[in-house]
Symmetry: C3
């Protein structure tokens, strides 16, 4: 590292404060940042953080592809690439304007999104960014919501029924509830605070997934008549591990980009804080889940460690900026504990969530949203609870109705024979791993 001595000196000055008083330079006019430069930095933040969030689509795909059985792996990959595509198109045609375009407190409007022109540099007032870069960033968020559902209802849902649900989710359900808060609607006026979407993105995905699981029912063989729960282990755990690392990386974009600006010293410094808290919350989730699982089961279940990371990430998402690093570790650790505790709980209720999406995204999302007031003085518990309940009730009921309508029209569940043989051969015509033989645990 070039120029190490002055680097160390500088660091000491910055960190220990010993040199701060020594800075004697008078600020020149050039110390001020131009508004055009601000615009570029703000836009760049949406673009860079946006491609990181887009990358999360791959993370969900790998996580889920590894956690399903090999006979349904092709279908799971297919669902993930198609849902990401549908999400983009529907958010363009309907969703974005339904989220942000409205004058109403309860929903936006119906119109196709169109980018504004590039503003004139002379008319800038600070804080602007290209409308298209923002669209791109918001689009990848709605795709994440759809990915959450995909994992929970895996292995027994009809492909086209799922795609139809994604159309409604990304065009209407997500945008309408989002308009209440991020769109400037009634929840934001009440003071509900959800920085990057513990509730608005993650719990919405979780509620929609829960509705889907209830309508579609559990996989054959999962829950015996005697209450016995049969594990149906995923076929490729390194793939799921990769998926979690991808999601972890993408989360820097998810939370960091939600600062919505990078064009001032304060904004870019805040993004740094967000990266730290996001990373430490995930780390806290992993460590807490790993320790708890060891205590409870004397073994370390990899899938719970992975979901512990995600639980920590979801939990910090509602407020990744205000907490101290220590509080971020704590919030994430509790997120990880929630996952470990609630995964068996869902099995007791015979809700068959294949990848643990509901514990991770719904339960840890509620936790994260609830504790925002611990560090953010602008938030208070009342509006947080109202937001959690209102978004949950709306999303769950709307999703339930949509799943039921789809069930009435075309059915949501593959027939028993297809389920035994797997979706891959019957609906995709291709096996995911045609050469890898039949292991002892296949069922």
């Amino acid at each position: 590292m070039k120029d190490m001595l002055s680097f160390a000196t500088l660091k000491r000055m910055l960190l220990l404060g010993s040199g701060a008083g020594a800075v004697a330079l008078v600020a020149t006019p050039a110390a001020a940042q131009s508004l055009e430069t601000q615009y570029i930095f703000n836009t760049l933040s949406f673009l860079m953080h946006g491609f990181l969030v887009m990358w999360m689509a791959a993370g969900f795909a790998m996580l889920e592809a590894g956690l399903v059985r090999s006979k349904n792996t092709t279908a799971q990959c297919l669902k993930n690439i198609v849902l990401y595509s549908i999400a983009g198109i529907m958010f363009y045609l309907v969703g974005y304007q339904m989220l942000y375009g409205g004058a109403s407190a309860y929903f936006g409007g119906f119109s196709i999104w169109g980018a504004g022109d590039v503003p004139d540099a002379a008319s800038l007032e600070g804080g602007e960014y290209s409308a298209g870069s923002d669209w791109f960033f918001q689009m990848v968020f709605v795709a994440a919501t759809a990915s959450i559902v995909s994992g929970a209802v895996a292995e027994r849902t009809k492909l086209w029924a799922f795609f139809l649900f994604v159309v409604i989710l990304t065009a209407l359900i997500y945008p309408i509830q989002g308009s209440w808060s991020w769109g400037g609607g009634w929840l934001s006026e009440m003071g509900f605070s959800d920085f990057a979407g513990s509730t608005i993105v993650h719990s919405v995905g979780g509620w929609a997934a829960l509705a889907g699981c209830l309508v579609i029912g559990a996989r054959k063989g999962k829950y015996g008549a005697d209450g016995k729960v049969t594990p149906l282990p995923g076929a490729n755990l390194p793939l799921s591990t990769l998926g979690v690392f991808i999601l972890w990386m993408g989360w820097f974009g998810f939370n960091g980009g939600s600062q919505l600006a990078m064009g001032t010293m304060q904004d870019v410094t805040d993004i740094g804080t967000i990266y730290i808290n996001t990373n430490l919350a995930a780390a806290g989730g992993v460590v807490a889940a790993t320790i708890l699982v060891t205590v409870l089961y004397k073994k370390i279940d990899l899938t719970l460690a992975l979901n512990g990371a995600l639980g920590g990430l979801v939990a910090i998402t509602a407020e990744p900026l205000a907490p101290s690093p220590l509080l971020a570790i704590f919030i994430g650790a509790v997120g990880g504990v929630i996952v470990v505790v609630t995964v068996p709980l869902l099995d007791k209720l015979k809700v068959d969530d294949v990848v643990g999406a509901i514990p991770v995204h719904l339960f840890a999302g509620i936790w994260g949203t609830l504790v925002v007031p611990l560090s953010n003085d602008g938030a208070s518990f009342g509006p947080q609870i109202v937001g959690i309940v209102a978004v949950g009730a709306f999303t769950f009921v709307f999703s339930l109705v949509v799943w039921l309508i789809i069930k009435a029209i075309m059915g949501v569940r593959i027939d028993e024979e297809t389920e035994m043989a797997g979706l891959d051969k019957s609906d995709c015509g291709l096996e995911a791993y045609p050469e890898f033989g039949t292991g002892s645990q296949r069922m």
Copy 2:
């Protein structure tokens, strides 16, 4: 998201125009962007978008590793990491100067590339960037071209024959034709327009692959004497899915970085538009391919959905900036359709393209290049057709000659015994999946 109300207000102002007139601040001198800042943004764009395009090397590797049979998977991985390495070294030693260094309209010159010095800030006139960052960005492009060939000729080509071809492709074939357009040669003077390389990169890879497939011949067992086509399914489809997500992500760098600048409001806004169109074209390719495949075959072939995404991406690459989002969806959708239609066509012609590289990169690349004039007023159909034909004829003939010379010198094809046993054991000494047993479909 911090400060939501003002965020929503700002968004309404930007999107609905209702507040634009309210901006009353007089532009201060600080509204102007410094030329040094421009230089840094432009350079950063090459670096950031460059590492995204570099990442596409991993995408091609995973796509191909998943689509070959397990007995050739190690060799396919090896080919991809070696070709990326060769491409970098050859582009440094020969290619870059052959592409950009020439005074001639038909080729550059022979010299080793050397970076310019850092310009003096006082001498900047706007639009500059570091020459090294541009080299890096252009280098990863040539690697993409070589990756395209690697997939098409998989499973029966001699490793060193392939490497030798890559040497010529990256030192001469790609750079010479590139000098005609991006190097400022005769095609660019005629008005040929190919923003990020539907023709210059993708169809060049496709033509080189086609020449290779013809010289090398089809895999044993693929085409029966009776005209029957035997599918030889890939061994690991989630890996191919990952590869496509990687390529999709990398394409933001491929197309976004081809703006060649990020240092003005216009440039960064344009990059945002490019991201949107790139994403929607891919989405259009996936949805169109998925629907068409369902209609044609009553099943949804994952590999066609994946290649549909790539077809959409290749199609939009010739002009990702000018189209409206709706046109981008259309261009991409047709790209996806082309892939679905031409994959069986190649099989009828007994051209054995293992991963579908020719439909994706050549056919969709021609389509994308052809339709540039639909949205770009500066382009017209004549020069587009001349460019497509000239680049195609040059690349195909040159590649054919090179493949034939290699065939004469050392042979291009492994012997039959090696082909039956697979390249991995005989040429690499390592199986890709030594423990995964022998599935029923292995052949």
Copy 3:
């Protein structure tokens, strides 16, 4: 690419110098970069390059998951996500201040890291960045060190023993030796030069791994009584290939971010040079390893090509800025050769390094550190050798003591029965690939 003619013209001007004299514009005041803009660019460099280095955690995980046998794959994935989490938390609680916070020449201090406030724009003097962004960047480095150890001691180490070692490594061992150089301690005062950590990061990981391998011993069945070495091939080579591509991509962050600044023309241009040299060194490593392996063994071992890339990357890390591209290729090529030559050497010494971490990170790291004076005038061989030896002796002895203490307290090695059955079933309760059957080579 927009505006191709002027692009080519500009390139010729930059590259050939023919147009440099033509630049007649007088520098306006706006040519100067504002200090706030500098601060944002510098911080952005840490953030962007930091998420690339974070991504390397996934690279190590995939590399190692593919190189172990399937019966230990779940455990290897688990170790990687847990070690990354521990590293972040320990570096927060202890490590960062131990590295950078000290007044002593030999170690930092014990205190919890706290970010400085955002500086006042008026007090900037140039070169500053947010303290949090720097913390984030340094944190991902320490995680890389721990990942190196994880691969070497795979398949026979107790999970909790490994985790305990990671706690000490990331809290004390890495930070203390780092304080000698990057922390401004005695090595930096002597003139030791290690730009991004060939010694400080990579050889430290290698020494700690070597100590672990000696204490823990070889895997059962690896070394016969008759001196015969039995290969225990990895279960999933495409995964390892992916891992190397991830590491390669992440290395642009590792080396590029180590410029520690991006806010001037010189800095961003230097980062471009670093990207080029990093890429070409890796390419040199691949090509050299591939040719040498072909000559030696008549086959191309994929794992040696992959480790050749890593050897090249490690070698260039000590000085990625000063070398010419040609020298970078040479340094990387020797790094690749070192790997090919020393992998069998370790086997002769019966040091069982599962993934080749010691050849790659220790031996190539020494080479890279040694040759810094070839290109960097500020470095000389004396201090380089002192640094290599001092860091090596400290790390090896400290690590040896820690491994021995852990062995005394809880044991470092799983029992023989568990080793035969694999860590996954006994300690994780989950198989990595439950359905993939039992191949012929499983042992």
